[in-house]
């Protein structure tokens, strides 16, 4: 029994925590600013391509490349946000602009790298796998999972227990009233956008060495972030962890059932999201509120 369960538990947990890392920034940003940023996944792609370009093509030190890439991702995230807030304030146009930005980046990278796919970037971590309860595990995912858990706790602490966190929560509750109490709402938004961009960029720096770099890679993290957000309840930051586990375990069970089919995980994610929207549109966070 343990022989069958061990890989399910190990992989389900590791992928679940990876999903937490990917989804955190999206949920944080939506929870606080009510802005749905479709360019979120594009930041993941920007980071991966920049690391590839700096470390592989220019031969820069890997750690420097990672830091520069994360910084650029933050700048791009802030620029998109500022441009939209200044010129396209209604949410409908924000959605369109952020989708177009993601597409623009995709086409740019496709053009610059001649549509080459399967580019590999060297990892910060050793890539040889080790055995854990009879399951071979890659150190990349273990470290990613650890970082995800640590960041979840840190962010929660930041938002719930610090003075600045109270400012953030006040802004999320009611920006106009918060402004009346002397909170600089615009700067709170900017901080949250920067943190959210940094989170997805960090996720890219950790995860991408285990994958390949290609121009369509902005889609996957966006799907994960969005579906996790729907399961947990859009913007309900605290429910990211259970939601990510629910998604990763259901994907892993389907993969056990149909091991030959190549790419069912997105279909499973979509089905879970539709199921939640029909049965529980408020997500898992919604049940809690009804019970309380």
């Amino acid at each position: 029994m343990a022989g069958i369960l061990a890989p399910v538990v190990v992989y389900g947990t590791l992928f679940g925590l990876t999903y937490v890392l990917v989804a955190l920034g999206f949920t944080l940003l939506f929870g606080i600013s009510r802005v749905l940023n479709l360019a979120y996944g594009a930041l993941y792609m920007v980071t991966a391509y920049l690391i590839y370009y700096l470390a592989v093509e220019l031969g820069v030190n890997l750690l420097v490349a990672v830091v520069v890439a994360i910084a650029v991702a933050i700048v791009v995230g802030l620029a998109v946000f500022l441009l939209c807030v200044r010129f396209a304030p209604d949410p409908m146009r924000f959605l369109i602009v952020s989708l177009l930005v993601a597409l623009l980046l995709q086409y740019l990278f496709e053009y610059y790298f001649y549509g080459e796919t399967g580019l590999i970037i060297p990892g910060l971590l050793p890539s040889h796998e080790f055995l854990f309860y009879g399951v071979s595990v890659s150190p990349v995912y273990v470290v990613t999972a650890g970082v995800a858990l640590a960041l979840l706790v840190l962010l929660w602490g930041w938002v719930e227990w610090t003075d600045y966190g109270r400012t953030i929560r006040a802004t999320a509750e009611d920006p106009e009233t918060a402004a009346l109490f002397g909170i600089r709402v615009r700067s709170v938004y900017l901080v949250v956008v920067a943190v959210s961009s940094a989170l997805i960029a960090l996720a890219a720096a950790l995860i991408v060495p285990a994958q390949e770099v290609d121009p369509n890679m902005w889609i996957e993290p966006f799907v994960i972030a969005f579906v996790v957000a729907v399961i947990g309840g859009l913007g309900k930051f605290k429910w990211t962890l259970p939601a990510a586990f629910l998604l990763s375990f259901s994907q892993y069970f389907v993969q056990l059932e149909y091991p030959t089919s190549s790419s069912l995980s997105d279909i499973v994610a979509f089905a879970v999201a539709i199921g939640f929207i029909i049965v529980l549109p408020q997500g898992i966070g919604g049940i809690h509120r009804e019970a309380a």
Partner: protein, 330 residues
């Protein structure tokens, strides 16, 4: 002394008086002019470019009617487009090679798909519909890649489909007639009670609900119609290139409709015809000179358009005409 009363002329039906505007007539004229213009060279690059322009105009009309009017953004347009293409491919590969039948089935399957998708997702307000619709084309690609053998596909798609018409010019005629009909139908619908409610949903859905109007059936109906049209459009595309493949799910089939609709003026319907020819002809000829870079330019232009000219080209023209018509102040 009372002036003699003028006898009222028998009134034309309201839908007709609302439909026939200078803009509508100009749009029909543009469609006819392009058909006649390319008549001399039925297989030229110009005729082929016009065929693609017409396909994108069909898509843009469908998108403008549903998303432009109601404000619920359907990013899943490539899904319904591809659904139509694959439906046509499936039946053609099964031996049904009669073109009108293929177009009709694609229309029906697109509409059913649109209904099945919008029914659960449009019950909720807000962004759920837009975001889930964005996932649709991605899911479709995964689905085809995983199950193409079970779906009896010869490869990851269907090749060797029947041609829509013998020459590109013949295809252009079919597509132009379809666009003229769709333009008329969508304009009549836009000016009807149904269209009024859709525009109301965009402006203030809560206000409509508080008037006791259930907005849900109207939204679902609008998206069912639009998805059907997108399916039809996908079938015409597949029969033009005689291949129904994964490229029909690409995001260019939402990028260009959005660009066209915004340039023509969101919710205007007529504007999509003018903007469609401008955008696609420009793209086709720039592509010859600049190849891949063109797509980057157009995406960038779309971003600038949404940010700085969200009203499009038709709205400034309209306000200029209105300005010229107003009598001068004394």
């Amino acid at each position: 002394m009372k002036p003699p009363e003028r006898r009222a002329r028998p009134a034309a039906p309201r839908w007709l008086t609302r439909l026939v505007s200078p803009y509508y007539i100009a749009a029909l004229a543009v469609i006819v002019v392009f058909v006649l213009w390319s008549a001399g060279a039925p297989t030229s690059y110009f005729a082929l470019s016009l065929v693609f322009a017409s396909i994108y105009i069909t898509l843009a009309l469908a998108w403008d009617f549903s998303s432009g009017l109601s404000g619920y953004l359907n990013f899943g347009l490539p899904f319904f487009f591809g659904l139509g293409a694959f439906t046509a491919g499936y039946f053609a590969w099964g031996g049904q090679r009669y073109v009108p039948f293929l177009l009709f089935v694609a229309l029906g399957v697109g509409a059913v798909g649109g209904f099945l998708f919008s029914f659960p997702t449009l019950r909720l307000r807000g962004p759920y519909f837009s975001l889930l619709s964005l996932l649709l084309p991605l899911i479709a690609v995964d689905f085809v890649l995983a199950f193409w053998t079970q779906l009896h596909m010869p490869t990851e798609g269907y090749y060797d489909l029947p041609f829509l018409a013998v020459t590109p010019w013949g295809e252009l005629i079919i597509l132009s007639v379809a666009n003229a009909v769709l333009l008329t139908v969508f304009l009549v619908l836009r000016n009807s009670h149904f269209g009024l409610i859709l525009r109301g949903i965009r402006d203030d859905e809560d206000a409509l609900s508080s008037q006791g109007i259930r907005t849900f059936p109207y939204k679902v109906l609008a998206f069912t119609i639009a998805s059907g049209v997108a399916g039809f459009s996908g079938a015409t595309y597949a029969l033009t290139v005689t291949f129904a493949g994964l490229d029909t799910f690409e995001f260019t089939f939402i990028l260009f409709p959005i660009l066209i609709v915004i340039l023509g003026g969101t919710g205007e319907i007529v504007g999509s015809v003018f903007a469609g020819y401008i955008v696609i002809l420009l793209y086709q000829y720039l592509f010859q000179a600049l190849s891949e870079v063109t797509l980057i330019f157009f995406t960038g232009a779309a971003i600038l358009l949404v940010l700085f000219l969200p009203g499009g080209i038709l709205r400034p023209i309209r306000s200029f005409v209105r300005f010229m018509r107003t009598p001068e102040a004394p």
